[in-house]
Symmetry: C2
Amino acid sequence: MSTTFQQHVRKFITISDDELTAILSFFKTLAPARKANLLQEGAVCKQDYFVLKGCLRLFFIDDRGVERTTQFAIENWWISDYTSLLFQTPSEFYIQAVEKSEILAISGEDKEAMLAAHPKMERYLRLVHQRAHAATQYRIRYQWDFSKEELYLHFSRQFPEFVQRVPQHLLASYLGLTPEYLSELRARRIS
Amino acid sequence: MSTTFQQHVRKFITISDDELTAILSFFKTLAPARKANLLQEGAVCKQDYFVLKGCLRLFFIDDRGVERTTQFAIENWWISDYTSLLFQTPSEFYIQAVEKSEILAISGEDKEAMLAAHPKMERYLRLVHQRAHAATQYRIRYQWDFSKEELYLHFSRQFPEFVQRVPQHLLASYLGLTPEYLSELRARRIS
């Protein structure tokens, strides 16, 4: 199962099998069921998650009680509330499994211990966060600049498989559309 | 001048004066004038910037020709278009000096050479990107969830000095308000 993680680390750094095995000993493997919450709003985020299989999402519930998804994480993505994890403050987000998933979880303390023992992993995590930060810069731009329809078309072109895979009401909650408007857009593209 | 940078690095890692001097040799010091552009939309981003003094901003121009600021960087902040810098693709952003500034600039290649010679800096940059990524997670949440007035109040409470310092039309362009509505909100708070 954990070869997914090993391959991902090796995309970024050169590292031996033995060292990767030692690194994996700092993680727990979890298998959340579909819709299981790994973090609830108001709780302090204790873990950083790496998706081996399946899909997690980060979302909040707005004033009108509507769920708004701000991030998805499929295979090879990390996800957490990094503010809550770092400062140990209550989170304003939920993290939930979209599908039955297999994930690696590491606490803030265990991450620090792992990095102290395996400083090579600083580079791996630097590159991971740099890419995630890079992606959010454009996410903010597009959320502001694009019409809802443009946002959907852009996202469909960038991540065609993902658009097929994720439940449509969650995709709508990520794009800021009603599920009805999203199915109208999809129908229009197919016809 | 560069003690600002040295102090910032030492907030995150332990490092000798000699090693910091060697690290600084990979950077250029620039002094852009107010409104000087360091990056233009359509160009490939070549540098990562650290602000020693002054203020930079990342913005784009929307369909209607309106400038939209998505990020500011004051002293001790890094700023770049990390997608364009990493993949060497044309940027969809501008980077501009808001005030006459003093900044450190490092190219992608020089950053890699610096990190190869000084791997300790991987940890520093990992923590910097992790915090920036953390901040954008909440930026996306608030941009979506808050009314324009709530966004202004929240930002004023979080960064009171910054709100005083930055030109009001740029603050408006960051918060997605018209400059007129922003001055109305400010007047309402003062009265």
